[in-house]
Symmetry: C2
């Protein structure tokens, strides 16, 4: 039996991943930029708004003309016009004058505040009665108050959210420079694996990893293409990996959980041109039989064959790496959203490896509980029954029931 | 000034939304089913695995033949074959016999356990020395232990995760029935709105809501098409809405924040054939000037024109509704993931309306803090500076600093 020859910690894997080159950039239309990662800084080319705008319906006034106005002692202003939406007012507000203005309207020159319509009353003679004072700037969104020209709004490496798309539009950026999306080549290896459309003969099983890992990859917006099912044959494995390296940015092969299959894969990878095995075995459970290599400067992940192990390793390392390739930070390690929960029962763990324990979440009496879902890593059903996982750090002996834990949803 | 004539609570809006018809179903390939919502129950048509499989490298044995074996008093078994991956073993294990088996291999008939290779030693004469006993079922994944035939694994209304895609594949389902994706027609209305490619003249502003609301819609996997920018003109508004209703499943128009624009929109909607205004004003802040109508049995949302208000109403009601149309539960109301945080400073609020306060998250000393981001709903930059929002319930007077709050990320 051959032992793993280069077992590394998860932290070391992240260091290795950080040494790969990021992808290049491309321009995309702003309307489809949601979810992409900025490759440029977004700097405001102009003030927003371009001039002062009313935030209420009412009258544009000079604030000083309203001082002292009350219900019992109202003031009177001469109405010199009406602000229309979408047009620059062609009049000015002089002393003692006002203009009707709708919410969103640009203030005419001379005005510095908006008096809400509730406190006004048209007097019928071309003037308006006002019963409240306003201060300068009241009910007005000043020029550049939303965004000031030259302000750095978003930085490279930022994943674009809906509000960011709106901001790009507001700044007049119809296109934006983003990192290219990684293309991931996926293969399932093993003599026992058959396509899902086929009814497995005795001794055979259907390919699940192409589908579960493929969906994980899609979940971070990367593209997937399948290299198919590859038998445990050195020439076929070699050919598939080389095709993946040539056509993709990353290759993820899930394969053999037996020693023989692992040895075959390690031999194949070592023999590839411009290849270097970075890790052969990772101190993580499930997922120890993971191989990481650099082939022609691109990353090759050999994930374990067990369906749960393949998904955990893909979630923890592959997805983080895909986000890194797109310009995001690797630091956090785990992709996906996190929630807090109370651990319902204790999790035992072995020191010296990072453990990922599947958990099912339950809301009870207003608290969120994480129930460990135990079961072998060959059981995909344990993933289907789970909502996420809890990470037990490499040097911990476990986590006691009742403690607060962070659950990464999947 | 016309007041809102039918102000309803957020709870009433959800009740109204629940009365619309859900979308129909369609078949999609399993490889692209991630993120779709199941329209059928997934019931296991067969046992997984189809027969007992080894979870370790070693020897397939009859457990009773290993009883009492130790390092000092090893047992000996006759090796009658080797299990190959992907093939049904053509031999049986009789009393006193064993067969080599790799991880994942199907057990030959007669064997009921796998003895790990670590505890074996080939004796050279066609037999193997064993130094540990195993119990029946040890290192074996039994037939149907992952999934039992007839088991209901997933129910209609469930949004498909990566592990579910893997499970569908494992069960041999190459296609799956899912709810159709909603098609959402979007328009921005207002005489002041210009396309983002154009440099706004004085009095004009660029269209942001088509982009921010469009991205929100995309974020839940729905499709978007734009009806363009529509001027404040009854005939044009009517035409745009009717086109949206005819070509889309839902129409979301963002429009006018002034009383005049709101009145015009309400008049246009009332005059449409088969139209009924369900809500005109919602007790929510920001977002009060929201109009909800049913037109030809389809939902029409008129979102406020202010960019923040438009996004909040779209996030709270429109996204929940899109998920509902796709078969998910409306109950939770809010789409999106939630995290807990400590409110950094108090939020004042007005009773009688639900308030959505933008917050920026900060991690400090291992705790997550939510800092309220104050600013007018006409400032899109306040959304860009925020990570999510905190909901202040309709009957609360606010939330005190230091309390735990739930933040919905956007």
């Amino acid at each position: 039996m051959t032992e793993f020859f280069r077992v590394v910690t998860p932290g070391q894997v992240f260091e290795m991943l950080a040494s790969f080159d990021r992808l290049g950039s491309e321009k995309v239309k702003t309307e489809v930029a949601f979810g992409r990662v900025l490759a440029e800084a977004v700097v405001a080319p102009e003030d927003l708004p371009a001039g002062p705008r009313a935030t209420m319906d009412g009258y544009a006034v000079k604030a000083q003309d309203t001082f002292g106005a009350t219900d019992s002692l109202p003031g009177f202003l001469t109405v010199v016009g009406k602000v229309e939406m979408g047009r620059a007012p062609e009049f000015e507000i002089g002393a003692g004058q006002a203009a009707e203005i709708p919410t969103g309207g640009f203030l005419p020159a001379g005005a510095d505040a908006v008096l809400m319509v509730e406190y006004t009353n048209p007097a019928g003679d071309g003037s308006v009665e006002i019963s409240r004072p306003v201060t300068a700037g009241e009910n007005v969104l000043g020029r550049g108050e939303d965004v000031a020209r030259g302000e750095v709004l978003l930085k490279p490496g930022w994943r674009i959210r809906p509000q960011d798309v709106g901001m790009l539009a507001g700044l007049g950026k119809a296109e934006v420079s983003v990192f290219q999306r990684p293309r991931v080549a996926i293969a399932s290896t093993g003599n026992e694996i058959v396509p899902i459309e086929r009814s497995p003969a005795p001794g055979q099983i259907r390919d699940t990893n192409t589908y579960s890992v493929g969906a994980l990859v899609r979940s971070v917006g990367a593209e997937v293409f399948s290299l198919g099912i590859v038998a445990d044959d050195a020439a076929l494995l070699r050919k598939a990996i080389l095709r993946g390296i040539s056509e993709g940015d990353v290759v993820a092969v899930s394969g053999g959980s037996s020693v023989g299959e692992r040895d075959l894969m390690a031999d194949v990878v070592s023999s590839l041109p411009n290849a270097r095995i970075l890790a052969h075995g990772v101190a993580i459970s499930p997922g120890k039989p993971t191989l990481l290599a650099s082939v022609h400067g691109k990353a090759l992940f050999v994930l374990p064959g067990h369906p749960v192990s393949a998904m955990v390793v893909a979630e923890v390392f592959l997805l983080a790496f895909l986000r890194f390739l797109e310009g995001e930070d690797l630091a956090s390690g785990l992709a996906g959203r996190k929630v807090e929960a109370v651990l319902a029962t204790s999790i035992p763990s072995v020191q010296g490896r990072e453990e990922y324990v599947r958990v099912r979440l339950e809301l009870k009496d207003g608290r969120r509980y994480a129930h460990p879902v135990f079961g072998r890593s060959s059981m995909l059903s344990t993933m289907v029954r789970s909502d996420g996982f809890v990470r037990v750090p490499i040097h911990a002996e476990g986590i006691a029931g009742g403690e607060n834990v962070e659950v990464t949803l999947f």
